[in-house]
Structure formats: C-alpha cells, structure tokens
C-alpha cells in the first residue's frame, strides 16, 4: 500500500513540475521585452494565410491570460507553432532532431556507464594502491576537460581516419544496407566517444564512492569473516547494493544529457536537438526555441521521475 502511495506521490510531483515548466516557458517567451519575441506569427516569407492561422491558433492578439489558456490547449494538441527557419511545424523539427540525438547519446552513455563502473570497481577494490590513484586521477582529469575541447582533441587524433562532421555521407546515393550502416557507425563514433569520455569520469567517482560505502558495511565484514572470496563478496553483495545509487544517478544524468549534448553536436555538426537549440538561437527562431526548451525541461523532469521510481524499486528500506 505504501508503495503505491509513494509512486503516486512522485508522479503527481513530476506532473506538477512539468506544469510549472510549461508556465515558465510561456512567461519566458511571451512576456520578455521586445515585440519580436512575442509575435510568433512572424514566420518569414510565409503566406498571409499562414500568419493569420497562427495568430488565430495562438490567440496572439488577445490578452496574456487568454493566450496562456490557448497556449495550454495548443500544447495538448501537440501544436508548438511553425519554425521561422524552414516553415515546418516545430513539433516535427524537434522529433527529427531528437531521433538524431538519441542514438549518439545512448551509445556514449553506455560506454560511460561500462567504463565508469569498471574503473570505479577497480578503484574501490584496489583502494590505497597506485591503481586506485591512477584510476581516480584519470577519471577526474577527463571529468575536468571541457566537452567541446575534448571533442576537438579527438578530431585532431582521428582526422583522416574517422569522419569529423555530420551524421552520414550525404553524397552516397542509394547505398547498400551494409555501406549505409558502416557509414553511420563511422560518423557516430567520435561524437559518442567524446560524450562517453566526459561522462565516465563522474561515474567512476560515484561508483567508487558507492562501493566504498557498501564495502564498509557490517555484513561485508561478516562475509569476510565467513571466508568468502573477495570476488564473490563484490559481485553478490557490494555491487548489488551499490547499484542503487549508481542506477539512480545514471537515470538522473540521462535527463540532463538529452538536455543538449549541445557542445558535442556543435563540434561534430551533428543535426540533433542540441544543434537545433543552437541554430534556433542564432536564427532567432523563437517558436523552435520555445518548443525545444520545453522539450528539454520535460525530459529532465521525466528522467528525474524515472530515477525516483528506480530508487524506490531498488531500495528495500523505502517500502517499509
């Protein structure tokens, strides 16, 4: 009973936060000074009919309160306006951009999780030795590097070997499936590697910290006293209990990673959601900006919720 109670409470809180995000998004873009910002119907080179339709849809000539109401209604219907840059609906632009970003982010995150867990475990296991020192220092070093700078370093290293820009080779007309896959793999390698390297450092530290905490528990001492081998202790007890903070912190990070990867996408000209935000800013494409910002905020809330629920599921202490 208590479990369902908790889940419901978290979901309600998440929804509330989303609502606040939606409201603040509205305020940020409609109430900011300058008529250019509020006049979302000013789609360049659009027909007067299009402009009128948008004006009517979003009630841009009505009072702010009415606008807000209409804004919520349109949001419900998935209408985020029309992009200034290519006169396409913002929602479809965002969808394409998101689809482009996700594979790159996922591969990078998986790499970071794997490498981070590995090095974190090693560091905790070999605590007090040079291995730990090296592991932690390397993790900290990568964690401290500016993301875009690291990307540029990789470009220097791999120039000529791997493509350094774009998602695929646009000049390939009707490529075979294997060629296409190889092409995509080549292009996704460096951006996801950059993302992975920057992320893994923090994961190493988190995993190590969680492991150390668990390794200090009494039942570990007991297991040791009973004569279990270190490996078994690690696997069966320590790691499993360390999974909790690890999993939740990873879920949290995901929310923020999707919130851009702006720097990586700018370095590698990756046509994803980070680039979309950046291009929208340069081109003063306000409908896109508003839509993208909302999407990013919602994604962070969503992943926070996932992290909370994960935590709840994995932590036996909460249910009672």
């Amino acid at each position: 009973m208590r479990g369902a109670d908790y889940i419901v409470k978290r979901i309600v809180f998440a929804l509330l936060t989303v609502f606040v995000a939606i409201t603040i998004n509205f305020a940020l873009f409609r109430l900011a000074p300058g008529s250019a910002v509020t006049n979302l119907a000013r789609v360049p080179h659009a027909t007067p009919e299009t402009r009128l339709a948008i004006k009517r849809q979003f009630g841009l000539d009505k009072s702010k309160w009415q606008q807000y109401w209409i804004y919520l209604g349109q949001l419900f219907r998935g209408n985020l306006g029309v992009s200034f840059a290519n006169s396409q609906p913002v929602s479809s632009n965002l969808r394409t951009a998101l689809i482009n970003t996700l594979p790159m982010v996922l591969i990078g995150t998986v790499f970071a999780i794997v490498l981070g867990t590995l090095t974190g475990v090693i560091a905790a296991w070999r605590r007090g030795t040079k291995t730990e020192g090296a592991s932690v220092t390397t993790a900290l070093a990568f964690y401290s590097m500016p993301t875009h700078w690291l990307g540029l370093m990789l470009v220097i290293l791999f120039a000529g070997v791997l493509p350094t820009g774009g998602m695929s080779n646009e000049f390939l007309l009707n490529p075979s499936f294997s060629t296409h896959v190889k092409d995509l793999a080549e292009h996704i390698a460096l951006p996801s590697l950059t993302l992975g390297l920057v992320l893994y450092g923090e994961y190493t530290l988190i995993v190590r910290s969680a492991m150390l905490e668990t390794l200090g528990e009494d039942y570990i001492l007991t297991a040791r006293a009973k004569g279990f081998r270190a490996g078994a202790i690690l696997r069966r007890h320590a790691l499993r209990n360390a999974m909790l903070p690890i999993a939740t912190l990873i879920a949290l990070s995901l929310g923020y990673i999707v919130a851009g990867a702006i720097l990586v996408e700018t370095v590698f000209s990756w046509p994803g959601i980070g680039r979309a935000v950046y291009d929208a800013v340069l081109q003063r494409d306000y409908p896109m900006l508003q839509g993208a910002f909302l999407l990013l905020t919602v994604s962070v809330v969503f992943f926070n919720l996932v992290a909370d629920l994960l935590y709840f599921k994995l932590d036996p202490r909460i249910t009672t």
Binding site: W125, G128, S144, L252, S253, Y256, V300
Partner: protein, 318 residues
C-alpha cells in the same frame, strides 16, 4: 522533493569546527591531493592576476605570422591573429577566473541566503523555498544560458548573472542541511532562549558552522562556472570584446587551426581550463571530505576516504 537527490548529509556528529587551523590540518592530513589542487589553483591565480606585469608581449600586438609555430621566443606559438599564446593564456585565464569567481559569488549569495533561511526557519518557508530550488534544479542550464545570452546580448555581466542564477541550487541545499542541524544544537537554543534575535543567532552561531561547507561548495561551484563560461564562449555567446580561455578555443576553431595543424592554438587553453577545474575539484572535494563526520572504514582495505560528488550540476552542462 526528490528522494534521489538526497539532502546532503547533515554533519550532526561532527566535532564542531573550532579553529581554522584545525580544518586545514584535517583536510591535508586526509587528502594530500588537496595540496596539489590548492597549489595549482594558486599558481593559475597568481599568473592571471599578474598578467599585466608578467605577460611577455602585448595582448593586441601581432608579433609574428598567423598561427606561428612554437619557438624559443614564443614557447606556445602564436594564435590566428599572430598574437603570443603565453600572453593570451595569462589574460584569458584572468577573464575566465573573473567570470568564474563572480558567478560563483552571485550563486553563493543567493544560495547561501536561501539555504540559511530555509534551514533556519523551517516549516512552510522551508517547503516553499525548496520547491523553488527543485524547479531550478530541473531547468536545463546550457540551453537557458544560450537563450538568455542571445536575448539579452553577450556581455560579461550578463554571462555572470546567468551562470550565477543557475548554480545556486546546490549551494542552497547543502547550506540548508547544515543550518538545520546546527539550529538544533544546544548553544543555539540557549542563545535564542536568552532573547537573541534571529539575525544575531544566524550571524554569530550558525554562519561560522556553515562557513567551511560553504567554502567547499564554493570551490566546486567555481569549477562549474568556468566550464559554463567556456561552453558559452565556444558557442559564440560570450563577450566578444574580452579574450577568455573559452574564446581562445573558439577563435582557433573558427580559423581552421586543427586542419592547419596549429595544435598549439587549441590545446593549451583547454589544458589550462581542465587544470583549473581539476584543481577546484580536488580542493573542494578534499575540504568536504575533511568535514565528513561519518568515518567509513572499509574492511577490505586499510585507508579511508570518501568523495562526495557534485550532484545535479555535473554532466548536464554537456
């Protein structure tokens, strides 16, 4: 409030910090890396502060060809304007550090004020303030920074404000937790019962206990602030009239430094930024660690230490 983003553990069983020397000693004793961090940071700060005096060449003077190679007179070569890289690094560090410190100061003031208020008064005030904090935690900061820099215009002042108003959340939460525990202590209760005003109690009794933690948090925040400034500069949104380390990277990138082979224009600024962030992380983490009361002993190894990562402000700035 999110259970996962746990409230930072309050230092209930901590030995009250009695003297400044005690804390420094504790820090260094436990984590020698703190010395490394402090040393590096001090070196960079000195170099940056003394830039007008120490810099070998003039900041705007072209002393050689575009992307001139490293040589004895120019150990790190020249940038895309023919300006000496070592000079640029010193002045660039100056701006980057100024932005970092200023933004951190803003966030410290806001976060500290909110944290103290929430922790001290508790109840409804606490709930409201924490809800606000939670919301700010959830805003994707780099996109917001980009938008604000674009709408307001990219000046140093705007950048500092923008970074500052996004970083205060972690400070607020850390301070709040600590204030909450301090408030319950005997000497605080006694002071209140003797009729001391809230202000007096906060200033005389709460703040000194909170200060060390605030310092640790500040150092860690500086790291993030400098990172954010670098990111904004790379995206072309920092003040174009000041050269910061981030701007140096952007300039080189814009002028095809990599494909021209002019690695010296792009590698050193990034290394310097990484060094500064690393130094701050080491130092801040070590101070935090020294304040940690819960001495964890791992049974599989001899030594003890623990690092508390900067939750909620690390990877999202990607």
């Amino acid at each position: 409030m999110s259970v996962v983003l746990q409230e930072p553990a309050a230092l209930d069983d901590a030995v009250p910090v009695r003297s400044r020397r005690g804390i420094v000693w504790e820090t260094v004793k436990r984590r020698p890396s703190a010395l490394v961090g402090a040393g590096l940071l001090a070196l960079v700060i000195v170099g940056a502060v003394l830039a007008p005096v120490l810099a070998p060449y003039d900041l705007h003077e072209q002393v050689g060809p575009v992307f001139g190679r490293p040589s004895w007179s120019h150990p790190l070569g020249l940038d895309d304007g023919g300006i000496d890289m070592v000079t640029l690094l010193m002045w660039g560090a100056r701006i980057s550090l100024v932005v970092g410190f200023a933004a951190t100061f803003v966030s410290m003031v806001i976060g500290g004020a909110i944290g103290v208020t929430a922790g001290y008064f508790g109840g409804k005030v606490d709930t409201i303030l924490m809800r606000i904090t939670d919301y700010f935690l959830v805003i994707p900061d780099v996109p917001l920074m980009i938008i604000v820099a674009a709408i307001w215009g990219p000046s140093l002042f705007h950048i500092v404000i923008v970074i500052g108003i996004l970083l205060w959340t972690s400070t607020a939460r850390v301070i709040r937790a600590q204030v909450k525990s301090v408030r319950e202590r005997v000497y605080v209760k006694r002071a209140r019962s003797l009729g001391a005003s809230h202000m007096r109690v906060v200033l005389r009794h709460v703040l000194p206990q909170v200060a060390p933690l605030l310092i640790a948090n500040t150092v860690l925040t500086i790291a993030v602030a400098i990172f954010d400034e670098t990111a904004l500069a790379f995206l072309g949104l920092s003040d174009p009239s000041r050269i910061s380390l981030g701007k140096m990277i952007e300039n080189a990138f814009q002028r095809a430094a990599i494909s021209t082979g002019a690695w010296w224009a792009i590698v050193p600024p990034g290394v310097l930024v990484a060094v500064i962030i690393l130094a701050c992380s080491l130092l801040g983490g070590a101070i935090e660690d020294a304040l940690n009361p819960r001495l964890r002993v791992a049974h599989l190894s001899a030594r003890t230490f623990r690092l508390r990562p900067l939750v909620g402000r690390g990877p999202e700035a990607l």
